[in-house]
Symmetry: C2
Subunit: 382 residues, 2 copies
């Protein structure tokens, strides 16, 4: 029992056996027909998941590296940009924009709230680029990117969305919604280990890239596109991770995006209802949009970090604590990627056991798991 | 036969089963005691391979990303730096320095020659940083970094060495030789798939980093050091690759660095002698320092790219062709990482068969393999 691990956290997420097996293939050389097929399959699989006909560029790096590429490739020092933030990952855009000496207009919402699309739209005029987050994993909020895109459009600013923890997990219709740049990483809903990052780039974004003077090299978009057009990458790519990602996007396509989104909404609803049945108060919004992460407050006098540590050390269940000002105040269940009904039951069951260790008692034993089972039965699982 | 692959190329190199198995472990969360142990083991293993007590920073990215970090973290636009180049990877420093708008002094040698340490030393005065390559994989030359370090020292410039394809394969005594920054990647002599990159940073280099104004974020040294001091990484790291790398550096330590270097010199000598016995002319130097890559010229009228393709497509043997101006003129055998005597025999045997396909005949059938066997027997293998 003691070594059995359950990763139910907002990334990295568990790896399906098909992906793990694919990564066990012997390495190939990256200048070869076999690699060109690997890259082509992976990029076209990503375009399906992205719902885009735009270029999808593939980088070695963390999701943050892909975010940085969307700053360094589209700006010059002093450019005015807008950052809309309501949590830890929104603030990362702010840090990136400052690192590149941009003139930043910030539209903030308190952590845990949704961005105000109208306010973002109002401030966007005169800005070259607007940077926003899709799934804010620090709070569990999924922002309304469609409304933000509509609100920003009249300004003519290029819209960049951090979808690191949402891509493939909740609806993000890149082309239909008119999102210019979407950055993502391999280790969340894409069910692959960390180390690969992506950016989709629209024609409008390419125009900005042509004029941008910020220095960049390994993450240069133009260099990457030129190589990818020849089935190549400019530098040695993480080949084993690409083997895994190809298998992962094939799994996503096999189930179909819409079915995957519905699956995630079902898991998220069960998590929310289960948490409430345990007598806890949700921190993330109690609605269907919050489908990647369920965040909830701790009972009075209980430290979320201690609950997190007890879950991990006694039960092998890795959830997530709070970040920044939320540290100790909330705990988060990540239900993205290779997740199923019984992962939610496990999370809720473990949570109850851990809370009991700090003297907290739910209304009835197993109240959280029982409520989740009810939801699953109701939604066609019984 | 047709699907059996032999990767005998200057990276990526084959992965030992111990490393492959380690990477198959289920993912863990990167904010956990288990991860802290993984990172600590890996960094201390790297310090052994680097022969350094300096910080060794770990990044998600290609070797080029680590090179870029040594530009963006130590310079401000307009700074004077020296780039010493004699091949494709030396010229990458030049491109990086130009991308960051540095005032570049270049010391060049023709491709295939060794850098002139005295010339580098003479030009170094007044330069903030000196960028050089250790193993120039495009030509097979291993530059004399020790002599360069001695020559540069009086100038006070900080010395940065690209050891992407040499670290762990040939002698590089970071601290003893006084090399300030050594950048490397996982996919060469370190026997791990591509996707991890490293930089060792001396106190003198940290001083430059404190003053440097070039923008950087994901590859910021200070942020990385602060996180690593807490057993952490600033962004989600390539966890599965770290599992592999820990196993790889343990294998290197188990054999001992000196024994590994001797092994590589033996393989390289056999490759050089075998190539000459086939009647071919070496392009890389015919001496013991050239221990990572053996490059050789094609016979008149034979196109190296066609030989490379025939080896790959008919025999499953991946060597390397020539880069840049050497394309078609040379072929390269990479004997770094998880390589043994019989890989050299395979490379020489395949090379003979492929050349015969273009009408070239060696003095005697099997002349290359036979000569290599002689060397192995002579050096204690028989």
């Amino acid at each position: 029992m003691v070594d059995k691990q359950y990763l139910i956290t907002p990334g990295p997420t568990p790896i399906p056996p098909e992906v793990q097996t694919a990564m066990a293939a012997p390495l190939i050389h990256h200048r070869s027909p076999v690699f060109r097929a690997l890259l082509a399959d992976t990029v076209s699989g990503l375009q399906y998941v992205y719902q885009t006909a735009n270029d999808v560029l593939v980088f070695a790096g963390s999701g943050t590296a892909a975010m940085e590429s969307a700053v360094s490739n589209m700006t010059s020092p002093g450019d005015r940009v807008l950052v809309a933030s309501a949590g830890n990952f929104g603030e990362r855009w702010l840090q990136l924009a400052r690192a590149y000496e941009l003139d930043v207009v910030q539209v903030e919402q308190p952590w845990g709230e949704r961005l105000d699309a109208a306010a973002v739209g109002e401030q966007a005029s005169g800005c070259r680029v607007v940077y926003v987050t899709h799934s804010e994993t620090s709070t569990g909020v999924v922002h309304d990117v469609r409304a933000i895109a509509d609100a920003v459009r009249p300004s003519g600013a290029v819209l960049v969305v951090d979808a690191v923890s949402s891509l493939g997990g909740v609806e993000l219709a890149t082309d239909e919604w008119g999102v210019d740049v979407v950055v993502a990483g391999s280790q969340k809903a894409l069910m692959t280990p960390p180390g690969l990052a992506f950016a989709s780039v629209s024609e409008r974004a390419w125009e900005l890239a042509a004029a941008a003077r910020a220095p960049r090299y390994a993450l240069d978009w133009g260099r990457t596109r030129t190589a990818q057009e020849k089935g190549d990458t400019p530098f040695t790519p993480p080949i084993s991770l690409l083997f895994g990602l190809r298998a992962a996007v094939a799994l996503i396509a096999e189930r179909g995006l819409a079915a995957g989104f519905a699956h995630n909404r079902r898991l998220a609803r069960a998590a929310r209802e289960g948490v409430k049945a345990l007598g806890l108060t949700l921190f993330s919004p109690d609605d269907a949009s919050s489908a990647m992460v369920t965040a909830f407050q701790m009972p009075d006098g209980v430290d979320g970090q201690q609950v997190y540590a007890r879950l991990r050390d006694r039960f092998g269940i890795v959830l997530a604590g709070g970040q920044g000002p939320l540290r100790g105040r909330i705990v988060r269940i990540g239900h993205m990627g290779y997740m199923n009904e019984f992962d939610i039951i496990t999370a809720l069951s473990g949570l109850e056991l851990a809370l009991r260790g700090f003297g907290y008692r739910p209304a009835a034993a197993g109240a959280g798991a029982a409520r989740a089972l009810e939801i699953f039965a109701e939604e066609g699982g019984g």
